[in-house]
């Protein structure tokens, strides 16, 4: 049960955003700035960083949600997304992305855990300043989003089939207050 009185029909962060629409607006804008651009890093790569950090923070709602959004961008390759979350070192992804995920993993523990050696490795594999910046900020932002969701004990759907439906909304329209103000998606056969 959530720690505060929120709309029980809304899952995860959606209920918190509906509780506080004023703070929801910039949070949606931040998510769009960091996750809805293909500049330097693709939207799929950005969502993989978000899903991996959420996995490390053990935030079930966020790792399932952002994993499902990454799957939308990766032609339904759920196995790859699951592997990046749990064991990216052995996943079939470019070495540069692995180096960026290592940096994101350090940020999840704490900013000081990022080492000059990790930055050096990423640069040698072709990572640019902007890619390193965005990786650190996406990881840091998910240390916020994950704590917001679990710190208020937001409702977490256990039905895994519900995540791809919400993910499709984001893949089509991006982030923003529509995710709590418009009708929640329901399975077609329901």
């Amino acid at each position: 049960m959530p720690h505060i009185n929120v709309d029980e029909n809304l899952p995860g962060i959606r209920a918190l955003m509906a509780f506080s629409p004023e703070t929801a607006t910039p949070m949606g804008e931040l998510a769009n700035a960091l996750l809805r651009t293909n500049e330097v890093l693709s939207m799929a790569e950005r969502e993989l960083i978000a899903a991996h950090v959420s996995y490390l923070n053990d935030c079930f709602y966020c790792q399932q949600s952002h994993g499902a959004i990454a799957v939308c961008y990766l032609d339904g390759n759920n196995d790859l997304v699951e592997q990046v979350k749990r064991d990216y070192v052995n996943a079939d992804i470019p070495d540069k992305l692995k180096a960026l995920l290592a940096i994101a993993g350090s940020v999840q523990k704490g900013g000081k855990y990022v080492t000059p050696e990790q930055i050096e490795v990423a640069r040698k594999l072709g990572a640019t300043d902007k890619e390193i910046h965005d990786t650190v900020l996406i990881a840091a932002a998910f240390c916020m989003f994950n704590r917001y969701v679990d710190g208020l004990a937001a409702n977490t759907p256990t039905d895994l089939a519900s995540y791809p439906l919400r993910a499709k909304q984001i893949a089509e329209k991006g982030y923003g207050n529509h995710i709590f103000s418009s009708k929640q998606p329901v399975p077609e056969n329901a």
Binding site: A33, G110, A139, R147, G151
Partner: protein
Amino acid sequence: MAYIPLEAHLPGITGLLEYRKDSAAPIRELTQILLRGPSTLTEGERELIATVVSNKNECRFCTAAHTAAANILLGEQETSAKVKEDLLNAPVSEKMKVLLTIASQVQVSGKNVTVAAIRKAKDEGATDIEIHDTVLIAALFCLYNRYVDGLATVTPTDASFYNSLGERLKQHGYNRLPQGYDHLKKQSAE
């Protein structure tokens, strides 16, 4: 030296917020709403939440900056020192002690927030909005602290730097200065 090229006259967070302005805008807006917007918590109390979380994350820049802001807003230095060192004996209300305890739990992980702490906060008169804002401020500083340290930004050691920054945070809040930050270049050159 920071891992990416940042303006030399803008240490800590300011250089990062100037590096990518389109992601900075919603971060600034969210902070302005949470720390300076209408609230039943005073600006000083909200700066104490930022201070406690930054201190636990061992982010020297953010701790010094928000300690300075809290001291200026509270008109004394004892409270900010005490909440960091010995919260239970700090000269703050019982409600603030519980809210700062919840913020400290969020710093570790969202999952660490206990039902007992939430119940105690409510018993001490904390509203759902105050609990929401406390969790989100604590989560937001988990973003800031990781952003600042994850990219190894410069941490000034001169106390006068933080006093000026604290004054700026009191006068202007978290909005980007309308004139930008070039005037600080002249000051640091003097």
